[in-house]
Symmetry: C2
Subunit: 100 residues, 2 copies
């Protein structure tokens, strides 16, 4: 059952082109995470918030990632990230061209 995770948290940068080298190794590690379909990286330098939107193949794979990623975020100074878990409504998502 495809699982959608949404992280949304306060962040002090770096942003944009400066974020990429800071997170390139992390991105490669995330790309190798078992069960990950894809991740979107969002940033809002004005509101000083960051976002991660993930699709996982199963709820179990999503939970394993949360257990790995939450301490990693804490090491970046993100102590209490907003986190929401959802399953996808596939017919409605397909009707709005979601990449599934």
């Amino acid at each position: 059952m495809t699982t959608l995770l949404q992280f949304d948290f306060a962040f002090d940068g770096p942003w944009g082109k400066d974020l990429e080298p800071a997170c390139r190794e992390l991105a490669d590690d995330i790309a190798a995470q078992p069960g990950l379909i894809w991740k979107l990286w969002g940033e809002n330098p004005v509101a000083r918030r960051s976002s991660g939107v993930y699709l996982f193949e199963t709820p179990e794979a999503a939970e394993a990632y949360i257990a790995k990623h939450t301490p990693r975020l804490a090491a970046f100074g993100v102590a209490d990230p907003g986190l929401s878990r959802f399953t996808l409504n596939l017919p409605l998502s397909r009707a709005t061209r979601a990449p599934l």
Copy 2:
């Protein structure tokens, strides 16, 4: 500049197969929204929360959608939806196989 919107709000259902007919017409209207790339529909019947994750071609297209969609959510009884706006970090998103 590709814009990511995340809606996340309390919802009392319907869910799953019952949500689809209730929202099919809405989904068709959303699919025709100018500047929309795609929308994912997320649902969590246990936490009683719903999610919409959107990509728009521009921030202006996203703002036009918010202006249209917020009153529509209110008509469904969703008075104060959580809403976050982000731009995408494209190199990092590509590194994690994001569908762009």
